[in-house]
Symmetry: C2
Subunit: 701 residues, 2 copies
């Protein structure tokens, strides 16, 4: 392994060129959590009344406020807000609200409701709790934050902007949801440094957060020393009612409780509104009681609109509970501050419209032009740049000390942080001579998994309750569990979708974490949404899918994959691999490990297959290659192509044809995607071009 | 509507020829729930000890029993079984156990563990509670039963056999899991009359049961009269630990609690074992508390292995709770009776093996040869044939009275029971003249849904919290809710997978129930497993999938379907329809309604499309058809094909080419599957044959 200096270690992860044209950082002696200034000219709620006469909407603000209060009967009790002097916190919270409102207005598309309601928890989280370095979003020991309710991404972009991230400069907020911008319609980790995972499809974000927290707990257990907690961060997540309804969230949260992920803190935006209106129409379960049943610590903040102290206290309490994940239910008003649209569907997913924006400005006492960040807010947040740099450099010093004392562990951890594969790791892949006995590719997969477990330091994974069928256990390791988090076999239970989404979280924790997960190939149907996020978010998750094809046997059609190969070949940025024997199975694992920016789906047989002469690990890398050929001058009479368990049939057919004197080439097309990426010359060399395929098809018709 | 006599009504549903070579039915004055006979020669547990010396396994039965007891520490407390005289119930329960053991042994494949553990609840349910007519499995007012833990299907087949169903004769049990048998490896409604839904993929069965119970509650609310409860049945479901872990089950159970489905009774086989071993490794949540949080009534039967009275009492209690669904957690021992394998993974999914079968026979005091049904058991169960016939004929009489008093309602209900579509229903489909203004196909879909709501009496459905985007509301109806179950708009919340599986249950309730469900097309990824079951189980569910293609807009790639068209075209028995305009949208609904044995997926646009001259409802039925053509003698220079929102582009391109003097044919290929089913002549007439496509491709290469 290259000897990376520990000081430059996390900088080496700064994969994108992050410009440093940030505003000059002001050191600040303001302490988080204190009201910093009463100098703001902004009116309080009572002050708003006097401004009513100038409302262009021609509705007296007092009347608007009455209406607003009526709207909130079932949401947070705004009555509890004592008329207080406007604080810097209020100012910051309103900045967040209006950055979201203005960006959505500017795009004429997006979701203002969540940012307006969640601005208080967002402010408290990012300004007072989350540990980050805005100038290096990839600093290893940062806290992780996931916006599971991804449609509210302007909340996150506004927070990243205030925090000083270069991905969310003012011009980026102004190009929200525009082609080519860094601020897409839903958070995308591959577009916006500072965004950890790709969310939007509901429920998966909280499952990603479970994966991130799992990775932390695992690495901490392996690398921390009594005198040095070198891995030590929290994972925060904001999720909404929609996420809570999704089964995938439930699956992952059940596991989080089981695993006792004490450093996972979920903030549940309990706003009672989803797209179809009041959640009363479809969602009346007792969420808190359910989470208690799942083994979580549960806190309820009743006034999420203004209860900064309650939010703060809840997060502190959550941090202190070490043996359970915490769910903080925070009751808020969606679209807080919009006199006519708050607490209704209308504010969820559309721009407020100029008139309502104006009314909201008046209501919240925000006389500023669009995208304005008041100086006191700017100044206050600016401390995060130097503080973030300090956090990282302190950690780098800590790492240097750790490295000196625990050289071996430090080297391993470093490789996990950077994602650098250990030299010679590929030698661990089993190879098979042509006279080797064949076996089921799931058995050969097991050999790969176990060999890789020896050389890849953060290769972790498991099955959705089919370990003994998928043959996915790493025999030298025990089970990752609440009290044995240093182990590497993950027992997901019968929760395919949660499994996939958790693996996405693990993969996104840091470049060296390599998760795999297993079930029957047919049950990719349960986890397809997670596989698509793997593909989209460029996450290297290895899907070990056994019981391919009719070889599945007597379990019958409910368990028999048919359309699955075609369906994954059609999914962008997925490698669909169907190895034919031992060498190709090893080749498939090689490809899966080396492709750091895409997931691989391996279709593996339940039944035995022979070792086929001519197969190779290298061949797999090209997607298609010649397994055998008795033609000369690149002029075969016939080219037979096969994949997986059908390659054997192609080989047998070739044998028969050759007996009849034919020149036959057998090609293994183990991955259509990889083959498609080869040069035109290579394809021509193999005789597999569009023209050739068409000509062959014509002969057959 | 044809005037079906009410007496022949349910017989008309006997779609398969059910042979009547059942054993002569004995009328019986034995009442369900009473122990009928103490005359059985079978030993009690204490009697077993004396038989130990003859064990061929050479292990004293006393020692086996000790071992067996040890295995059960975490499972049911076998100690509570007082040494009692062997009852007929014991005999029946052991018959069920051994029919399962013997069938799995015979097939050398299958899952004996669940049937052995669930035989007591299975016996009590089928023999004492479930209302059915074995000679007409399709009798409308029967109780519905779903084995959500489908792998344990030998339990169901054994029960159907004892109950007198012609689908599960002894020879059928002997051909369990064999090619062409009526007893496949997982329950399939289309193979085995008496099986209501297709299960196996875990978690979905309980969601189907929610759909069945929803259909009952809805129809009861609409058709029952104070003096006549013409729709009145329960829905029972057995589910296991695996089902409990799956998110889809959670989604559906949350809705069942919300809807207050009082006649849904779920029996949870709490056996603590799944494929990966003790559920302790992945599933430690408090399930009972969770179900309370979901609004269910929860009962715990601690001794599911022998506690017949407790099981009985629990089901009685469950039936008496009218405002909530009930979950009865029944603690059992998987593989009960197998001395060496019970309470372990070993008994879950493999044949016991001759030696262990023998030991189990000894242990349970079952000296009989394989597939033996003792005479007293036979005699006892035989009453279900006359009783079932009586139940049905009593109901038929009831219906006749109902019909006399409530003619109009009876006619409608009859059409729902038979599935006969009202004459002229198709006239409700909107048609559009070529000069009509265009619109988004989701808007045109809304017109169809609302028109169909007027003419199809049991057209019910809704969206997964996207009603205002999918435009899926039936405006003349309110929401199906706990207290308004007569309404037809279903609010599924953000629960796509649960939605699909619930719709499968609704569709399988009776032939006239026509469920539709809606979300964004991309989110079929969340519900794909349910769509596949729709296809496999031949269930007419209409999937209203809006926001097709890049027309989705700024929501970005997480919300943008790409591979979805291809992936559903690859799924067997699904109609993938991509209408181009208003006429084709109506055509798609026509096809979806008429195809009673397959689901349809409609991909609908968010954005406006023009009405295209030449489109038609009839054209859609053929899958592909000529929209415009200026060629003569069937010799166009070019054939342009398009689907959905791209048909407009093909039309525009044709316009340009024709200006250049070309003879251009434009073909709309709205459904590849339907087109594939057309005659060779028709395809040739259109000029779209494999040869023509290949030739065209060759030109392009």
């Amino acid at each position: 392994m290259a000897s990376t200096s520990s000081l430059s270690l996390s900088n080496s992860l700064l994969a994108r060129s992050v410009s440093h044209h940030a505003p000059a950082s002001h050191s600040s002696d303001h302490r988080p959590g204190l009201c910093l200034s009463a100098a703001s000219p902004l009116p309080t709620f009572s002050g708003l009344k006097s401004a009513s006469s100038s409302s262009p909407a021609q509705i007296p603000i007092a009347a608007l406020r009455r209406r607003f209060l009526q709207r909130q009967i079932r949401a947070a009790a705004i009555e509890t807000l004592a008329p207080a002097e406007t604080s810097l916190v209020d100012n910051s919270v309103n900045t967040i609200r209006f950055l979201a409102v203005d960006a959505v207005e500017n795009a004429n598309s997006g979701h203002p409701g969540l940012p307006m309601g969640c601005a208080p928890m967002g402010h408290v989280l990012y300004d007072e709790f989350i540990k980050f370095n805005p100038k290096n979003p990839y600093w290893f020991n940062r806290d992780r934050f996931v916006l599971s309710a991804g449609h509210g991404c302007m909340l996150q972009y506004a927070l990243l902007h205030l925090a000083g991230y270069d991905s969310c400069k003012l011009e980026d907020l102004k190009s929200f949801r525009q082609w080519g911008s860094k601020t897409p319609g839903h958070p995308e980790n591959f577009e916006t440094p500072g965004v950890e995972v790709t969310t939007g499809p509901l429920g998966q974000g909280i499952a990603n957060a479970v994966g991130l927290a799992l990775a932390e707990k695992h690495l901490a257990a392996r690398f921390n020393k009594p005198d040095c907690e070198i891995v030590d961060h929290y994972t925060y997540c904001i999720l909404g009612d929609g996420c809570q309804m999704e089964g995938v969230a439930h699956e992952a949260c059940s596991l989080a409780g089981h695993w006792g992920l004490g450093k996972l803190i979920a903030l549940y935006d309990d706003n009672h509104i989803s797209i179809d209106g009041d959640t009363e129409i479809a969602f009346t379960e007792d969420v808190s009681k359910r989470f208690e049943a799942l083994g979580w610590h549960v806190i309820w903040v009743k006034n999420g609109n203004n209860g900064y102290d309650e939010i703060r206290a809840a997060i502190k309490e959550a941090k202190s509970v070490k043996d359970k994940p915490t769910m903080i239910k925070i009751t808020t008003t969606i679209g807080y501050g919009s006199p006519n649209k708050s607490n209704s569907y209308a504010v969820h997913g559309s721009a407020l419209g100029a008139k309502e924006v104006d009314a909201t400005r008046k209501f919240l006492g925000w006389p500023h032009e669009p995208f304005h960040v008041p100086d006191d807010v700017k100044k206050h947040w600016s401390r995060h740049i130097p503080e973030g740099a300090s956090l990282e450099s302190e950690w780098n010093e800590k790492f240097a000390a750790y490295e000196q004392k625990y050289k071996e562990e430090a080297d391993v951890l470093k490789s996990i942080i950077t994602g650098e594969l250990p030299a010679g790791w590929e030698k661990a892949l089993p190879t098979y001579a042509p006279d080797s006995p064949g076996d089921a590719t799931r058995v050969l997969s097991q050999q790969n998994i176990n060999n890789l477990a020896d050389v890849l330091p953060a290769f972790v994974g498991g099955s959705a309750d089919l370990a003994s069928s998928n043959l996915s256990l790493m025999k030298k390791f025990g089970n990752f569990q609440k009290n044995t988090p240093e182990e590497r076999n993950i027992r997901f239970g019968v929760r395919e979708h949660g499994m996939g989404a958790i693996c996405n979280g693990i993969a996104r924790h840091c470049p060296g974490m390599i998760p795999y997960c297993a079930t029957f190939f047919v049950f990719t149907d349960y986890m397809r949404a997670a596989i698509r996020i793997s593909a989209l978010s460029q996450s290297r998750v290895i899907y070990v899918m056994t019981h391919d094809s009719i070889g599945l046997g007597e379990d019958g059609p409910t368990h028999q994959p048919i359309e699955h190969l075609a369906s994954f070949r059609a999914m962008p940025n997925v490698l669909m691999l169907r190895p034919a024997d031992g060498n190709e199975t090893s080749g498939a694992y090689r490809v899966a490990i080396l492709n750091k920016k895409r997931p691989s789906v391996l279709a593996l047989s339940r039944q035995k297959v022979p070792l086929i002469a001519g197969t190779s690990i290298e061949g797999v890398e090209k997607g298609g290659y010649i397994v055998s050929d008795n033609s000369s001058d690149n002029k075969p009479d016939v080219i037979l192509m096969g994949t997986g368990t059908e390659l054997e049939l192609a080989v047998e057919a070739a044998h028969e044809l050759r007996k009849e004197g034919k020149a036959v080439r057998v090609v293994s097309l183990v991955s259509w995607e990889l083959f498609g990426e080869q040069s035109a010359e290579y394809k021509k060399e193999l005789g597999i071009t569009a023209q050739a395929v068409i000509a062959a098809a014509k002969e057959l018709c």
